[in-house]
Subunit: 240 residues, 2 copies
Protein backbone atom coordinates (compact mmCIF):
# COMPACT_ATOMS: atom_id res chain seq x y z
CA UNK A 1 0.00 0.00 0.00
CA UNK A 2 1.27 3.38 -1.03
CA UNK A 3 0.52 5.18 2.24
CA UNK A 4 2.75 2.74 4.13
CA UNK A 5 5.71 4.10 2.25
CA UNK A 6 5.04 7.76 2.99
CA UNK A 7 6.11 9.40 6.22
CA UNK A 8 5.45 12.93 7.33
CA UNK A 9 8.37 14.33 9.32
CA UNK A 10 7.95 17.39 11.52
CA UNK A 11 11.37 18.80 12.36
CA UNK A 12 11.59 20.65 15.69
CA UNK A 13 7.90 21.60 16.04
CA UNK A 14 7.39 24.18 18.80
CA UNK A 15 3.63 24.14 19.35
CA UNK A 16 2.03 20.85 20.33
CA UNK A 17 -1.28 22.04 18.84
CA UNK A 18 0.37 21.91 15.43
CA UNK A 19 1.45 18.32 15.98
CA UNK A 20 -2.16 17.39 16.71
CA UNK A 21 -3.43 19.33 13.68
CA UNK A 22 -0.86 17.58 11.48
CA UNK A 23 -1.97 14.17 12.77
CA UNK A 24 -5.60 14.97 12.05
CA UNK A 25 -4.81 16.26 8.56
CA UNK A 26 -2.80 13.11 7.82
CA UNK A 27 -5.50 10.76 8.99
CA UNK A 28 -8.15 12.70 7.06
CA UNK A 29 -6.02 12.19 3.95
CA UNK A 30 -5.42 8.47 4.63
CA UNK A 31 -1.81 8.78 5.76
CA UNK A 32 -0.63 7.48 9.11
CA UNK A 33 3.14 7.51 9.55
CA UNK A 34 4.12 10.53 11.61
CA UNK A 35 7.71 11.22 12.72
CA UNK A 36 8.74 13.99 15.11
CA UNK A 37 12.33 15.19 15.35
CA UNK A 38 13.06 16.82 18.72
CA UNK A 39 9.60 18.23 19.35
CA UNK A 40 9.77 20.98 21.96
CA UNK A 41 6.75 19.75 23.92
CA UNK A 42 5.52 16.22 23.42
CA UNK A 43 3.40 14.36 24.39
CA UNK A 44 0.88 17.02 25.26
CA UNK A 45 -2.81 17.30 25.99
CA UNK A 46 -3.03 20.10 23.44
CA UNK A 47 -1.71 17.83 20.71
CA UNK A 48 -4.26 15.19 21.62
CA UNK A 49 -7.10 17.70 21.68
CA UNK A 50 -6.25 19.10 18.26
CA UNK A 51 -5.78 15.61 16.81
CA UNK A 52 -9.47 15.16 17.55
CA UNK A 53 -9.84 11.46 16.86
CA UNK A 54 -6.46 10.99 15.21
CA UNK A 55 -4.87 10.20 18.55
CA UNK A 56 -4.05 6.72 17.24
CA UNK A 57 -1.56 8.41 14.90
CA UNK A 58 -0.04 10.28 17.82
CA UNK A 59 0.20 7.09 19.85
CA UNK A 60 2.01 5.39 16.99
CA UNK A 61 4.25 8.29 16.02
CA UNK A 62 8.02 8.00 16.22
CA UNK A 63 9.89 10.60 18.24
CA UNK A 64 13.45 10.87 16.96
CA UNK A 65 16.61 12.54 18.25
CA UNK A 66 17.98 13.25 14.82
CA UNK A 67 16.76 13.85 11.30
CA UNK A 68 18.92 10.93 10.16
CA UNK A 69 16.90 8.62 12.31
CA UNK A 70 13.61 9.98 10.93
CA UNK A 71 14.56 9.54 7.29
CA UNK A 72 16.33 6.23 7.70
CA UNK A 73 15.37 3.89 4.88
CA UNK A 74 13.88 6.60 2.66
CA UNK A 75 15.08 6.92 -0.90
CA UNK A 76 13.22 10.14 -1.55
CA UNK A 77 13.31 13.05 0.88
CA UNK A 78 11.41 16.22 -0.02
CA UNK A 79 11.04 19.40 2.00
CA UNK A 80 8.18 21.87 2.13
CA UNK A 81 8.87 25.56 2.08
CA UNK A 82 6.92 28.73 1.52
CA UNK A 83 9.96 30.62 0.34
CA UNK A 84 11.61 29.90 -2.97
CA UNK A 85 15.14 28.90 -2.04
CA UNK A 86 17.98 30.06 -4.17
CA UNK A 87 19.64 27.53 -6.41
CA UNK A 88 20.42 23.91 -6.03
CA UNK A 89 17.10 22.32 -5.36
CA UNK A 90 14.45 21.55 -7.92
CA UNK A 91 11.19 23.15 -6.87
CA UNK A 92 7.78 21.58 -7.41
CA UNK A 93 4.24 22.69 -6.74
CA UNK A 94 2.28 20.60 -4.22
CA UNK A 95 0.43 19.03 -7.15
CA UNK A 96 3.59 17.97 -8.96
CA UNK A 97 5.06 16.82 -5.67
CA UNK A 98 1.97 14.74 -4.85
CA UNK A 99 2.36 12.86 -8.12
CA UNK A 100 6.09 12.32 -7.65
CA UNK A 101 5.65 11.16 -4.07
CA UNK A 102 2.94 8.68 -4.97
CA UNK A 103 4.91 7.34 -7.93
CA UNK A 104 7.96 6.84 -5.78
CA UNK A 105 6.01 5.31 -2.92
CA UNK A 106 4.84 2.45 -5.12
CA UNK A 107 8.35 1.05 -4.85
CA UNK A 108 10.18 2.71 -2.00
CA UNK A 109 9.96 4.92 1.05
CA UNK A 110 9.46 8.66 0.97
CA UNK A 111 9.84 11.29 3.69
CA UNK A 112 8.27 14.71 3.46
CA UNK A 113 9.87 17.22 5.81
CA UNK A 114 8.24 20.22 7.44
CA UNK A 115 10.46 22.71 9.25
CA UNK A 116 10.16 24.63 12.51
CA UNK A 117 7.30 27.12 12.78
CA UNK A 118 9.54 30.17 12.82
CA UNK A 119 12.90 29.20 11.43
CA UNK A 120 12.13 26.40 8.97
CA UNK A 121 14.85 23.92 8.10
CA UNK A 122 18.58 24.52 8.42
CA UNK A 123 20.84 24.29 5.41
CA UNK A 124 22.27 21.05 6.79
CA UNK A 125 18.76 19.61 6.92
CA UNK A 126 17.98 20.81 3.41
CA UNK A 127 21.12 19.08 2.23
CA UNK A 128 19.38 15.80 2.91
CA UNK A 129 16.58 16.59 0.45
CA UNK A 130 16.29 15.77 -3.23
CA UNK A 131 13.88 18.57 -3.93
CA UNK A 132 11.58 21.15 -2.44
CA UNK A 133 7.85 21.66 -2.46
CA UNK A 134 6.81 25.23 -2.82
CA UNK A 135 3.30 25.96 -1.60
CA UNK A 136 1.96 28.89 -3.62
CA UNK A 137 1.11 31.81 -1.38
CA UNK A 138 0.58 35.50 -0.95
CA UNK A 139 4.04 37.06 -1.32
CA UNK A 140 3.14 39.51 1.45
CA UNK A 141 1.99 36.79 3.87
CA UNK A 142 3.58 33.56 2.85
CA UNK A 143 4.09 31.60 6.04
CA UNK A 144 1.45 28.92 6.42
CA UNK A 145 0.54 27.40 9.73
CA UNK A 146 2.38 24.08 10.10
CA UNK A 147 -0.83 22.04 10.29
CA UNK A 148 -2.21 23.86 7.24
CA UNK A 149 0.94 23.11 5.24
CA UNK A 150 0.70 19.43 6.18
CA UNK A 151 -2.97 19.53 5.12
CA UNK A 152 -2.19 20.88 1.65
CA UNK A 153 0.59 18.38 0.96
CA UNK A 154 -1.38 15.39 2.27
CA UNK A 155 -4.38 16.51 0.22
CA UNK A 156 -2.24 16.46 -2.93
CA UNK A 157 -0.82 13.06 -2.01
CA UNK A 158 -4.32 11.66 -1.61
CA UNK A 159 -5.45 13.37 -4.82
CA UNK A 160 -2.58 11.71 -6.68
CA UNK A 161 -3.33 8.30 -5.19
CA UNK A 162 -5.24 5.97 -7.51
CA UNK A 163 -8.94 5.66 -6.99
CA UNK A 164 -9.35 3.08 -4.24
CA UNK A 165 -8.79 5.74 -1.59
CA UNK A 166 -11.58 7.95 -2.78
CA UNK A 167 -15.16 8.03 -1.73
CA UNK A 168 -17.36 6.23 -4.18
CA UNK A 169 -19.96 8.59 -5.54
CA UNK A 170 -21.81 6.10 -7.71
CA UNK A 171 -24.79 5.36 -5.53
CA UNK A 172 -28.53 5.53 -5.89
CA UNK A 173 -28.76 8.11 -8.63
CA UNK A 174 -31.93 8.57 -10.61
CA UNK A 175 -31.20 7.86 -14.26
CA UNK A 176 -30.91 10.83 -16.57
CA UNK A 177 -33.89 11.51 -18.77
CA UNK A 178 -33.49 10.20 -22.29
CA UNK A 179 -33.43 12.55 -25.27
CA UNK A 180 -36.91 11.35 -26.15
CA UNK A 181 -38.35 12.07 -22.71
CA UNK A 182 -36.84 15.53 -22.77
CA UNK A 183 -38.26 16.15 -26.24
CA UNK A 184 -41.72 15.21 -25.00
CA UNK A 185 -41.31 17.68 -22.19
CA UNK A 186 -40.33 20.50 -24.56
CA UNK A 187 -43.32 19.80 -26.80
CA UNK A 188 -45.65 19.74 -23.84
CA UNK A 189 -44.10 23.00 -22.56
CA UNK A 190 -44.56 24.70 -25.92
CA UNK A 191 -48.22 23.68 -26.04
CA UNK A 192 -48.89 25.04 -22.56
CA UNK A 193 -47.02 28.29 -23.20
CA UNK A 194 -49.13 28.81 -26.31
CA UNK A 195 -52.30 28.30 -24.30
CA UNK A 196 -50.99 30.83 -21.78
CA UNK A 197 -50.48 33.29 -24.66
CA UNK A 198 -46.89 33.51 -23.53
CA UNK A 199 -45.23 32.60 -26.84
CA UNK A 200 -44.56 35.39 -29.28
CA UNK A 201 -46.72 34.30 -32.27
CA UNK A 202 -44.29 36.04 -34.63
CA UNK A 203 -41.32 34.13 -33.30
CA UNK A 204 -42.35 31.18 -31.13
CA UNK A 205 -39.06 29.39 -31.60
CA UNK A 206 -37.04 32.09 -29.93
CA UNK A 207 -38.43 31.55 -26.44
CA UNK A 208 -38.29 27.80 -26.80
CA UNK A 209 -34.64 27.99 -27.74
CA UNK A 210 -33.83 29.91 -24.58
CA UNK A 211 -35.76 27.49 -22.42
CA UNK A 212 -34.12 24.50 -24.05
CA UNK A 213 -30.74 25.98 -23.34
CA UNK A 214 -31.63 26.47 -19.72
CA UNK A 215 -32.98 22.95 -19.13
CA UNK A 216 -30.32 21.26 -21.20
CA UNK A 217 -27.72 22.87 -19.00
CA UNK A 218 -29.33 21.35 -15.94
CA UNK A 219 -29.11 17.81 -17.38
CA UNK A 220 -32.54 16.66 -16.19
CA UNK A 221 -33.07 13.30 -14.61
CA UNK A 222 -36.18 11.20 -15.08
CA UNK A 223 -37.89 12.26 -11.84
CA UNK A 224 -37.37 15.90 -12.60
CA UNK A 225 -38.78 15.53 -16.07
CA UNK A 226 -41.84 13.86 -14.57
CA UNK A 227 -42.26 16.68 -12.05
CA UNK A 228 -42.00 19.34 -14.76
CA UNK A 229 -44.56 17.55 -16.91
CA UNK A 230 -46.81 17.14 -13.87
CA UNK A 231 -46.75 20.90 -13.38
CA UNK A 232 -47.72 21.42 -17.03
CA UNK A 233 -50.65 19.03 -16.63
CA UNK A 234 -51.75 20.85 -13.46
CA UNK A 235 -51.72 24.13 -15.39
CA UNK A 236 -53.79 22.63 -18.20
CA UNK A 237 -56.39 21.47 -15.71
CA UNK A 238 -56.74 24.91 -14.20
CA UNK A 239 -56.73 27.26 -17.15
CA UNK A 240 -59.97 28.31 -18.69
Amino acid sequence: MISRNIRIVLVGPTHPGNIGAAARAMKNMSLDRLFLVQPKIYPSAEATARASGADDLLAACRVCDTLDEAIDGCSLVAATTARVRALRWPQYTPREAGERIVTHARQAEVAVLFGREHSGLTNEELDRCQWMINIPSNPAFSSLNLGAAVQVICYEILSATPAQAFVDTADEFTPFATAEEIEHYYRHLETVLARLDFLDPANPRHLMRRLRRLYNRAQLDRNETNILRGILTAIERKIT
Copy 2:
Protein backbone atom coordinates in the same frame (compact mmCIF):
# COMPACT_ATOMS: atom_id res chain seq x y z
CA MET B 1 -9.71 41.60 -9.43
CA ILE B 2 -10.79 38.02 -8.99
CA SER B 3 -10.20 37.79 -5.23
CA ARG B 4 -12.55 40.71 -4.67
CA ASN B 5 -15.38 38.60 -6.02
CA ILE B 6 -14.76 35.61 -3.79
CA ARG B 7 -16.08 35.41 -0.28
CA ILE B 8 -15.52 32.65 2.25
CA VAL B 9 -18.60 32.15 4.41
CA LEU B 10 -18.36 30.25 7.70
CA VAL B 11 -21.85 29.24 8.78
CA GLY B 12 -22.32 28.92 12.55
CA PRO B 13 -18.69 28.28 13.52
CA THR B 14 -18.41 27.07 17.12
CA HIS B 15 -14.71 27.41 17.88
CA PRO B 16 -13.16 30.85 17.57
CA GLY B 17 -9.77 29.24 16.95
CA ASN B 18 -11.13 27.91 13.67
CA ILE B 19 -12.21 31.38 12.62
CA GLY B 20 -8.67 32.60 13.16
CA ALA B 21 -7.21 29.62 11.32
CA ALA B 22 -9.56 30.26 8.39
CA ALA B 23 -8.51 33.91 8.25
CA ARG B 24 -4.86 32.97 8.21
CA ALA B 25 -5.39 30.34 5.51
CA MET B 26 -7.29 32.87 3.39
CA LYS B 27 -4.65 35.56 3.67
CA ASN B 28 -1.89 33.06 2.92
CA MET B 29 -3.78 32.23 -0.26
CA SER B 30 -4.41 35.88 -1.22
CA LEU B 31 -8.09 35.97 -0.34
CA ASP B 32 -9.50 38.50 2.07
CA ARG B 33 -13.32 38.55 2.19
CA LEU B 34 -14.48 36.62 5.24
CA PHE B 35 -18.15 36.37 6.27
CA LEU B 36 -19.39 34.79 9.49
CA VAL B 37 -23.01 33.73 9.95
CA GLN B 38 -23.99 33.60 13.63
CA PRO B 39 -20.58 32.65 15.02
CA LYS B 40 -20.98 31.19 18.51
CA ILE B 41 -18.11 33.20 20.02
CA TYR B 42 -16.78 36.22 18.19
CA PRO B 43 -14.75 38.38 18.47
CA SER B 44 -12.35 36.36 20.56
CA ALA B 45 -8.71 36.50 21.63
CA GLU B 46 -8.33 32.92 20.47
CA ALA B 47 -9.43 33.83 16.93
CA THR B 48 -6.91 36.66 16.87
CA ALA B 49 -4.13 34.44 18.18
CA ARG B 50 -4.74 31.75 15.58
CA ALA B 51 -5.05 34.34 12.80
CA SER B 52 -1.41 35.13 13.58
CA GLY B 53 -0.94 38.23 11.43
CA ALA B 54 -4.18 37.91 9.50
CA ASP B 55 -5.98 39.98 12.10
CA ASP B 56 -6.69 42.59 9.40
CA LEU B 57 -9.03 40.04 7.79
CA LEU B 58 -10.77 39.48 11.10
CA ALA B 59 -11.15 43.21 11.62
CA ALA B 60 -12.74 43.55 8.17
CA CYS B 61 -14.90 40.43 8.32
CA ARG B 62 -18.68 40.69 8.10
CA VAL B 63 -20.73 39.12 10.87
CA CYS B 64 -24.21 38.29 9.55
CA ASP B 65 -27.45 37.24 11.20
CA THR B 66 -28.58 35.15 8.27
CA LEU B 67 -27.10 33.19 5.41
CA ASP B 68 -29.15 35.36 3.04
CA GLU B 69 -27.24 38.37 4.19
CA ALA B 70 -23.90 36.64 3.70
CA ILE B 71 -24.60 35.52 0.13
CA ASP B 72 -26.41 38.67 -0.95
CA GLY B 73 -25.26 39.65 -4.44
CA CYS B 74 -23.62 36.30 -5.18
CA SER B 75 -24.62 34.46 -8.34
CA LEU B 76 -22.64 31.35 -7.53
CA VAL B 77 -22.95 29.70 -4.13
CA ALA B 78 -20.97 26.51 -3.51
CA ALA B 79 -20.76 24.42 -0.35
CA THR B 80 -17.97 22.30 0.99
CA THR B 81 -18.75 18.90 2.41
CA ALA B 82 -16.84 15.82 3.43
CA ARG B 83 -19.83 13.56 2.94
CA VAL B 84 -21.19 12.68 -0.45
CA ARG B 85 -24.83 13.68 -0.29
CA ALA B 86 -27.34 11.22 -1.62
CA LEU B 87 -29.40 13.79 -3.44
CA ARG B 88 -28.14 15.02 -6.68
CA TRP B 89 -26.13 18.17 -6.42
CA PRO B 90 -23.28 18.27 -8.82
CA GLN B 91 -20.14 17.34 -6.89
CA TYR B 92 -16.73 18.68 -7.75
CA THR B 93 -13.27 18.04 -6.43
CA PRO B 94 -11.52 21.02 -4.86
CA ARG B 95 -9.43 21.29 -8.01
CA GLU B 96 -12.42 21.44 -10.35
CA ALA B 97 -14.15 23.79 -7.94
CA GLY B 98 -11.13 26.12 -7.83
CA GLU B 99 -11.25 26.47 -11.60
CA ARG B 100 -14.99 27.04 -11.67
CA ILE B 101 -14.87 29.58 -8.87
CA VAL B 102 -12.08 31.56 -10.51
CA THR B 103 -13.83 31.52 -13.88
CA HIS B 104 -17.06 32.75 -12.36
CA ALA B 105 -15.31 35.38 -10.26
CA ARG B 106 -14.04 37.13 -13.37
CA GLN B 107 -17.58 38.37 -13.93
CA ALA B 108 -19.57 38.01 -10.76
CA GLU B 109 -19.55 37.26 -7.08
CA VAL B 110 -19.02 33.84 -5.57
CA ALA B 111 -19.65 32.57 -2.04
CA VAL B 112 -18.04 29.38 -0.75
CA LEU B 113 -19.86 28.01 2.30
CA PHE B 114 -18.38 26.00 5.13
CA GLY B 115 -20.76 24.42 7.64
CA ARG B 116 -20.71 24.01 11.38
CA GLU B 117 -17.91 21.92 12.88
CA HIS B 118 -20.18 19.11 14.00
CA SER B 119 -23.39 19.35 12.09
CA GLY B 120 -22.39 20.89 8.77
CA LEU B 121 -25.04 22.73 6.76
CA THR B 122 -28.79 22.21 7.02
CA ASN B 123 -30.82 21.12 4.03
CA GLU B 124 -32.32 24.61 3.84
CA GLU B 125 -28.81 26.04 3.61
CA LEU B 126 -27.80 23.52 0.97
CA ASP B 127 -30.87 24.54 -1.02
CA ARG B 128 -29.14 27.86 -1.66
CA CYS B 129 -26.18 26.19 -3.34
CA GLN B 130 -25.57 25.42 -7.00
CA TRP B 131 -23.10 22.66 -6.30
CA MET B 132 -20.95 20.98 -3.72
CA ILE B 133 -17.23 20.62 -3.23
CA ASN B 134 -16.21 17.25 -2.03
CA ILE B 135 -12.82 17.20 -0.35
CA PRO B 136 -11.38 13.74 -0.92
CA SER B 137 -10.78 12.03 2.39
CA ASN B 138 -10.35 8.85 4.34
CA PRO B 139 -13.80 7.22 4.40
CA ALA B 140 -13.17 6.14 7.99
CA PHE B 141 -12.15 9.61 9.16
CA SER B 142 -13.56 12.11 6.77
CA SER B 143 -14.30 15.19 8.83
CA LEU B 144 -11.63 17.82 8.27
CA ASN B 145 -10.96 20.57 10.74
CA LEU B 146 -12.76 23.70 9.57
CA GLY B 147 -9.56 25.71 9.14
CA ALA B 148 -7.98 22.83 7.23
CA ALA B 149 -10.94 22.63 4.85
CA VAL B 150 -10.73 26.37 4.21
CA GLN B 151 -7.00 25.93 3.58
CA VAL B 152 -7.52 23.25 0.92
CA ILE B 153 -10.20 25.21 -0.94
CA CYS B 154 -8.30 28.50 -0.83
CA TYR B 155 -5.17 26.71 -1.99
CA GLU B 156 -7.05 25.42 -5.03
CA ILE B 157 -8.51 28.86 -5.71
CA LEU B 158 -5.05 30.40 -5.66
CA SER B 159 -3.67 27.57 -7.80
CA ALA B 160 -6.40 28.23 -10.38
CA THR B 161 -5.88 31.97 -10.42
CA PRO B 162 -3.83 33.18 -13.38
CA ALA B 163 -0.65 35.00 -12.44
CA GLN B 164 -2.00 38.44 -13.33
CA ALA B 165 -5.63 38.06 -12.38
CA PHE B 166 -7.18 41.27 -13.57
CA VAL B 167 -10.30 42.33 -15.35
CA ASP B 168 -11.29 40.55 -18.51
CA THR B 169 -12.00 42.89 -21.38
CA ALA B 170 -15.70 43.71 -21.59
CA ASP B 171 -17.21 40.49 -22.78
CA GLU B 172 -20.84 40.47 -23.78
CA PHE B 173 -22.72 38.36 -21.33
CA THR B 174 -26.01 38.42 -19.52
CA PRO B 175 -25.30 38.80 -15.84
CA PHE B 176 -26.08 35.81 -13.66
CA ALA B 177 -29.12 36.16 -11.46
CA THR B 178 -28.21 37.07 -7.90
CA ALA B 179 -29.15 34.92 -4.93
CA GLU B 180 -31.91 37.36 -4.12
CA GLU B 181 -33.45 37.31 -7.61
CA ILE B 182 -33.38 33.54 -7.58
CA GLU B 183 -35.00 33.48 -4.17
CA HIS B 184 -37.84 35.68 -5.48
CA TYR B 185 -38.33 33.27 -8.31
CA TYR B 186 -38.57 30.29 -5.95
CA ARG B 187 -41.09 32.08 -3.76
CA HIS B 188 -43.16 33.01 -6.78
CA LEU B 189 -42.95 29.44 -8.05
CA GLU B 190 -44.08 28.03 -4.71
CA THR B 191 -47.08 30.39 -4.64
CA VAL B 192 -48.16 29.37 -8.12
CA LEU B 193 -47.68 25.66 -7.47
CA ALA B 194 -49.88 26.01 -4.39
CA ARG B 195 -52.56 27.69 -6.45
CA LEU B 196 -52.28 24.86 -8.97
CA ASP B 197 -52.81 22.37 -6.11
CA PHE B 198 -49.57 20.79 -7.16
CA LEU B 199 -47.76 21.00 -3.84
CA ASP B 200 -48.27 18.17 -1.40
CA PRO B 201 -49.87 19.98 1.54
CA ALA B 202 -48.34 17.42 3.90
CA ASN B 203 -44.82 18.03 2.65
CA PRO B 204 -44.58 21.14 0.48
CA ARG B 205 -40.82 21.53 1.04
CA HIS B 206 -39.98 18.28 -0.64
CA LEU B 207 -41.05 19.35 -4.12
CA MET B 208 -39.50 22.78 -3.72
CA ARG B 209 -36.20 21.21 -2.75
CA ARG B 210 -36.14 19.13 -5.91
CA LEU B 211 -37.00 22.11 -8.07
CA ARG B 212 -34.37 24.27 -6.40
CA ARG B 213 -31.77 21.66 -7.06
CA LEU B 214 -32.73 21.50 -10.70
CA TYR B 215 -32.64 25.25 -11.27
CA ASN B 216 -29.58 25.82 -9.12
CA ARG B 217 -27.73 23.35 -11.27
CA ALA B 218 -28.59 25.35 -14.37
CA GLN B 219 -27.06 28.55 -12.91
CA LEU B 220 -29.77 30.91 -14.16
CA ASP B 221 -28.93 34.22 -15.75
CA ARG B 222 -31.05 37.30 -15.27
CA ASN B 223 -32.95 36.97 -18.58
CA GLU B 224 -33.87 33.42 -17.82
CA THR B 225 -35.11 34.31 -14.36
CA ASN B 226 -37.27 36.99 -15.94
CA ILE B 227 -38.67 34.55 -18.49
CA LEU B 228 -39.48 32.00 -15.80
CA ARG B 229 -41.20 34.62 -13.67
CA GLY B 230 -43.07 35.84 -16.75
CA ILE B 231 -44.43 32.35 -17.27
CA LEU B 232 -45.60 32.25 -13.64
CA THR B 233 -47.38 35.58 -14.08
CA ALA B 234 -49.05 34.31 -17.26
CA ILE B 235 -50.28 31.26 -15.35
CA GLU B 236 -51.66 33.45 -12.55
CA ARG B 237 -53.59 35.52 -15.09
CA LYS B 238 -55.22 32.47 -16.62
CA ILE B 239 -56.13 30.33 -13.67
CA THR B 240 -59.52 30.67 -12.18
